[in-house]
C-alpha cells in the first residue's frame, strides 16, 4: 500500500511513457537500423552498412529534393518572419480594428495544407487563374505559369506556405511585443528616439528568444512539409518540386525501397535534431536560471 502510494505518479505516467518510448524512440531506432540494411519491399535485418546513404546521396532526385528544401526553407523563413514582424509591429500601434484584422491574418493557419494547396492551385492555374485575370484587364502579355514550369513550381509552394503560416508568426511576435515593459518604450521616447528607432534599436533586439522560437518552428515546419507539396504540385512537374518528405514516402510506399526511404527519413531526423537539440538545450537552461 505504502509503495503504491509513493509510486502512484510514476505508475500513472508509465503507460504514456511506455507508448512514447516504443512508438517514438523505439520506432526511430528501428528506422535507423533499417537504413543500414538492404531492405526493399520487406524489411531484412541483415546489416549492410551505410550503402543506403551512399545510394541516397548519389541519386539526382534526392539532390533535387534537398536543393528544393533549401530554397523553400530559406524563402519561407525569411518571408514569414519579415511579414510576421511587420504585421505585428503595425498591429501594435493601438489600431481600432486590431481584433478583426488579426482574425483575418491568422485564419489560414486553421486550414489544412491540403485545403491551402487546393485553393492556391486554382488561383495560380495558368489558363484560368491569375494569369487570365491579368490578361482580361489589359496586360495581354502577362504570363504566370510557375505552377507548371519546372524550376519555378517550388516558388508556388513558398507563396502558399507563407500565406498559411505568416499570420502565426505575427501572432507570436505580437505576443512578444505585448510583453515588453511599457516603461522601456516610454524611456526611449523621452530620450528622443523616434518610433522606428524604438523598434529597431530597442524592442526587436529584446525579442531574440521570439526570433529563435519562430525560426525553429518554421524550420521544423519546412522540413516536415509534405501535404502542401502533394496538394499543390505533387512534386511536379516531373520531380522538379520534390522535397525530402515526398521523396521518403515515394520510396517507402510506391517504390518498395524501404532501406533507402529509411535513410532519407533519418537524414530528415538528423537535420531536425541538429536544430532542435541546441534550441531546447538553451531554452531549458534559460528556464533553469529563472527558477
Amino acid at each position: 500500500m505504502f509503495w503504491l502510494k509513493r509510486n502512484l505518479p510514476r505508475l500513472v505516467i508509465a503507460p504514456s511513457f511506455g507508448v512514447l518510448i516504443w512508438f517514438v524512440y523505439g520506432f526511430i531506432l528501428w528506422t535507423i537500423y533499417i537504413s543500414f540494411t538492404k531492405s526493399k519491399l520487406l524489411p531484412k535485418y541483415e546489416f549492410w552498412g551505410i550503402d543506403q546513404y551512399f545510394r541516397l546521396w548519389s541519386m539526382p532526385r534526392w539532390h533535387v529534393a534537398v536543393e528544393n528544401l533549401f530554397i523553400f526553407t530559406v524563402l519561407f523563413i525569411i518571408l514569414c518572419v519579415f511579414i510576421g514582424i511587420i504585421l505585428a509591429i503595425l498591429l501594435d500601434q493601438k489600431i481600432r480594428a486590431e481584433g478583426f484584422l488579426r482574425t483575418i491574418y491568422l485564419y489560414p493557419m486553421a486550414l489544412s495544407f491540403i485545403v491551402t494547396g487546393t485553393a492556391w492551385k486554382w488561383i495560380l492555374n495558368p489558363s484560368l487563374g491569375l494569369e487570365k485575370f491579368a490578361i482580361d484587364i489589359g496586360f495581354e502579355t502577362f504570363t504566370f505559369d510557375w505552377l507548371v514550369t519546372p524550376g519555378m513550381s517550388i516558388y508556388t509552394i513558398v507563396i502558399a506556405g507563407v500565406w498559411q503560416s505568416s499570420g502565426f508568426i505575427m501572432a507570436i511576435f505580437l505576443a512578444g511585443l505585448r510583453s515588453v515593459d511599457d516603461e522601456i518604450i516610454k524611456a526611449a521616447k523621452i530620450d528622443g528616439a523616434g518610433l522606428i528607432a524604438v523598434y529597431l534599436k530597442i524592442i526587436l533586439p529584446m525579442m531574440r528568444p521570439v526570433f529563435m522560437s519562430a525560426i525553429v518552428i518554421l524550420l521544423h515546419l519546412a522540413i516536415k512539409s509534405y501535404d502542401l507539396v502533394i496538394a499543390l504540385t505533387a512534386g511536379g512537374p516531373g520531380i522538379s518540386s520534390d522535397m525530402p518528405a515526398v521523396f521518403m514516402t515515394q520510396m517507402a510506399f510506391h517504390r518498395s525501397e524501404i532501406g533507402l526511404a529509411s535513410a532519407s527519413a533519418i537524414m530528415m531526423f538528423l537535420t531536425v535534431s541538429a536544430i532542435v537539440v541546441p534550441y531546447l538545450y538553451s531554452e531549458l537552461k534559460r528556464e533553469d536560471q529563472r527558477n
Binding site: S112, W122, K224
Partner: protein, 295 residues
Amino acid sequence: MQNYQELEKSSNTKKIIYRWILFIILGIFALYYITPLYVMIVTSFKTMEEIRQGNLFAFPNSINLESWNVAWNGQGFSAGDVYLKTYFWNSVKLVVPAVIISTIMGAINGYALTKWRFKGDSWVFLLFLFGTFIPYQAILLPMSRTLGTIGISNSIYGLILVHVVYGLCFTTLFCRNYYISISDEIVKAARIDGAGFFKIFFKIILPISAPILVVTVIWQFTQVWNDFLFGATFTFGKEAPIQVALNNMVLTSSSVKRYNVDMAAAIIAGFPTLIVYVLAGKYFIRGLTAGSVKG
C-alpha cells in the same frame, strides 16, 4: 529654437500621415490573406461555363449550389466517383475519440509531472518535449508494420491510435506548462486535508483546468482534422479521412477539371476548423503559441 506652435503643428500632420500609411499597409495585407478565401467561395458558386468565361475574382451570376451537392454527395453515376460525405464522417469518427483520449492522458501526465515530482521527471518531460519535434517520416514505416501486426491497418481505429500516440507529446506539454503555473501549495493543502492523487486531480485540479483543456482540445482537433500524412499512409479507399479524400478528388477528376466542385470540397474540408477558429480564436492562438514557446 523652433517655434513651439510650428512644432506642434508639424508633428500633428506627421501623426496623421503615419496613421494613413499604417492603415494602407494593413489593408493590403488583409487583402492578401482574404483573397484566396473569397476566390474559393465565389468559384464554388459558379458554373464551369462561368469559370471559363469570366475571371477569377468576378462575382457569380447566380448562386449555383450544384457543385456543393456534387462535392458532398457525388454525381451518383460513376463508381469511382469521389465525394466527401463518407470521408467527412470518417474524420468525425476519428477526431472525437482521438481528441478525448489524448487530452485526458495529457492532462493526467501534466499533473503528475508537475505536482508529484519524482526522480527523473525532468528527463521524462524532456523526452515528451523532443517528441513534439520529430519528423513523422522517421516513424512511418515501423508504424505501418505495427498497425498491420495488431490488425488495425486501414481502419479508423488504427488512425485513432496513431493520433493519440503522437498527439500525446503535445497534450502533455500543454498541460504540463499550464499546471506548472498553478501553486504547488494547493496540492500540499489538499494532501494535508487527506485527499490522494486522483481525488486531488478530479476535485481540485480538473475544475480549474478549463482554459488549458480548451486549448488542448482545439489544438488536437485541428491537428487530427487537418492531418494528411497519416491518413494517406495508413488508410486507403473508403476508410480514408477527409483531407485524403479532398486530395484524391482534386487529383482524380478525370478529363474535365471541375474547379467549382474542388473549391466547394475544399471549403467543406476546411469548414470545421475554420468554425472553431472563428468561435474560439483566442484559445486557438493560445494553443499555437503554447506549442511554440516550449519549456
